[in-house]
């Protein structure tokens, strides 16, 4: 199971809602259909206003972004229950979101789909890091190391939910632990 992730971060501020992560007009795409899943990736975070976020998470014409790690402030993923939000991020190549706090349904959907690790940071990393900064996230050591400065920041433990994401989501986890039958 991969527990160390290295790469550039994409930084957003507080209260990024699901409309900004995946705007409503793209919800016609059905995530369980392969091509539509990839399309969702191409639109990840495209609802962020350009004025505030001139660097884009996924470049025009690409289906994946170059940021495996998203850094956010408070209440990341607030708003609707659309699972398209963590899925779009995952489809675009994001593996970890480091936020000061998450909205409940987004957190739950990230875990249930196994698309990404929603990690809470003890400090407000969105004030410290800039888009493009290289970091290493170690889920076992619960640490984020900034390449440029060597500074280390702490993460809060994911607790029980770590093993659900490790397993690849709710269904795999439920099978592994015998909550539902193997063939379903």
């Amino acid at each position: 199971m991969q527990s160390v992730f290295t790469g550039p971060v994409f930084v957003v501020r507080d209260d990024i809602d699901t409309d900004q992560i995946i705007p409503a007009q793209y919800l016609t795409l059905v995530p369980t259909i392969r091509e539509e899943y990839e399309k969702l990736g191409s639109y990840a975070m495209c609802g962020l206003p350009e004025k505030l976020y001139p660097a884009r998470f996924v470049r025009d014409g690409q289906t994946r972004g170059e940021y495996p790690i998203v850094v956010a402030g408070r209440n990341f993923g607030c708003g609707s229950s659309r699972e398209h939000a963590p899925i779009a991020l995952g489809a675009a190549g994001c593996k970890v979101v480091l936020a000061e706090g998450f909205a409940r349904i987004f957190f739950r959907n990230s875990v249930a789909t196994g698309e990404l690790y929603p990690c809470e940071s003890s400090e407000r990393l969105c004030d410290v890091l800039k888009t493009g900064d290289e970091v290493t996230v170690d889920l076992d050591a619960l640490a984020v190391t900034v390449k440029k400065t060597g500074k280390v920041f702490k993460l809060k433990s994911l607790g029980d939910v770590r093993s659900v994401v490790d397993a690849g989501g709710l269904f795999n986890y439920a099978r592994k632990t015998g909550m539902i039958g193997k063939t379903g």
């Binding site: 409309d19 409503a24 007009q25 206003p49 739950r108 379903g184």
Partner: protein, 457 residues
């Protein structure tokens, strides 16, 4: 235990649960719609197999409502995916857009957006349709693939929004693993003043705790003030619990709840039996607030989120381009009645759109008479663009041809529930959330306006 703990304990077949416990709960209803239904069905089939059957065909309720009146072919296709699944599974409660079970739904833009295009089974916005069609019962557990599922907490049940994967799991097993939330207590006292509405109560409360103030928690509303609130009012309040990050909202059961639920279950022939939960003497709350309803004033949540609380009278310098009344929160019959009371005999001076939440509400407004005119006619005469195609419409933007969608960076005052950037369309538009009364008064002046100045004598 709190009301929420009692509901979850019962659904988990346990004597007691407390905040923080993880429990498997048995669902009573799973609701899904056209936006999340196809994905949920996809997860269900992928995980349980192509020939799998849903856990209970009478308990999966499917309500297309979001992207219906649009020529977008993907949206139309998604309604067809729902219909095929319903046929295959023999699902009892499907409120299809069209009457022909073998047909295909296609919206015809040449007929325009205002004239009714749906058939006789269509039920409109899911959260308003669920109670109207007798699917909300006290004491039950309702899961829905939509964050405003919490609206049904008005009926003394546990109702919460979940994602497609969780919903796929419920579809196959009828169960879901939940963490019992802490409960925040909102005790309501007194009565609202004229011109102040239930929407103001919830906008005020969200402003008080911050719009992530109820994250992972239950919001319990009780106290003597609740008796003066109609069922519609309670629904408005419960609807926006999610706007404070809440997991669910919950009201006590009373004679009004009983009358409503009994009538609705009978009307649609749904299960008429239920067992409400009542308050214990000892409840553990993580937060308490006493709200004197008589002190509240018309309230507005400013761009860009529902926690940006201001009083309407503080904002009269803000000029508007548009007004919108609709959605599960603000598109009920009582909402349009308050709206019409202020607009009657006057003219709006900005573009004003009206989208009733359900076809039944359209019917109410087209038949309720005030003097010579119906409420519908009063609104049309006041210059409101009223559509008969009930649904979510521009509440969440939707495809570009959606009725009322903001396709330019406009400023809009809206009776809906969300105002994040881009929510109603254009990324750089601004949405101000307010009660139907405040939206009406603002539509008359083109600025954010305290409706108390425009109350009829």
């Amino acid at each position: 235990m709190t009301l929420t703990e009692k509901l979850l304990a019962r659904a988990a077949s346990k004597k007691r649960v407390q905040a923080g416990d993880n429990v498997w709960v048995q669902a009573d209803i799973l609701m899904t719609h056209d936006v999340c239904g196809p994905g949920t069905i996809g997860v269900f089939k992928r995980e349980f197999g192509k020939t799998a059957k849903v856990w209970d065909r009478n308990k999966v309720v499917i309500i297309p409502d979001h992207y219906i009146f649009t020529a977008d072919s993907m949206s139309n296709r998604n309604v067809d995916i729902l219909r095929d699944f319903v046929k295959e599974q023999g699902i009892t409660y499907f409120y299809d857009v069209i009457d022909d079970p073998n047909g295909h739904w296609v919206f015809d833009p040449t007929k325009g957006a205002m004239k009714r295009q749906h058939g006789s089974h269509y039920a409109g916005v899911c959260h308003a349709a669920l109670p109207q069609k007798g699917h909300t019962r006290p004491g039950e557990i309702l899961f829905g693939t939509d964050s405003h599922t919490c609206m049904a907490g008005a009926f003394n049940e546990f109702a919460t929004g979940i994602g497609n994967t969780d919903a796929g799991f419920v579809m196959g097993t009828g169960k879901l693993l939940l963490k019992v939330p802490e409960t925040m207590h909102f005790r309501l006292e007194g009565k609202l003043q004229p011109g102040v509405m239930a929407k103001d109560i919830i906008l005020h409360s969200i402003g008080e705790i911050g719009f992530d103030g109820a994250t992972y928690r239950a919001m319990q509303f009780d106290g003597p003030g609740v008796a003066s609130l109609s069922i519609d009012d309670r629904m408005t309040i419960a609807n926006m619990a999610i706007e404070a990050g809440g997991k669910n909202a919950i009201f006590e059961f009373d004679a009004q709840t009983q009358a409503f639920v009994d009538y609705r279950c009978k009307l649609n022939g749904t299960n008429p039996s239920y067992e409400p939960v009542t308050r214990d003497k000892r409840e553990k709350f993580s937060y308490e607030l006493v709200l004197d309803l008589s002190k509240l004033e018309p309230t507005v949540a400013c761009h860009p989120n529902p926690g940006q609380r201001k009083l309407a009278r503080e904002l009269n310098a803000i000029k508007l381009d548009r007004a919108y009344i609709g959605s599960c929160t603000g598109g009920k019959t009582s909402d349009f009645i308050e709206f019409a009371r202020i607009l009657r005999g006057k003219r709006v001076i900005i573009d004003t759109f009206g989208v009733p939440a359900t076809p039944e509400i359209v019917h109410d407004l087209q038949t309720a008479r005030w003097g010579q005119q119906t409420v519908w006619e009063i609104l049309v005469a006041a210059g409101v663009k009223m559509t008969e195609n009930a649904g979510c419409a521009a509440c969440l933007g939707g495809p570009v041809d959606t009725f009322g969608r903001m396709n330019a960076p406009l400023k809009c005052i809206s009776a809906t529930n969300r105002n994040f950037p881009g929510r109603m369309g254009h990324k750089d538009s601004q949405v101000f959330l307010a009660s139907p009364a405040t939206v009406a008064a603002s539509a008359l002046t083109g600025k954010i306006t305290d409706p108390r100045e425009y109350l009829p004598a």
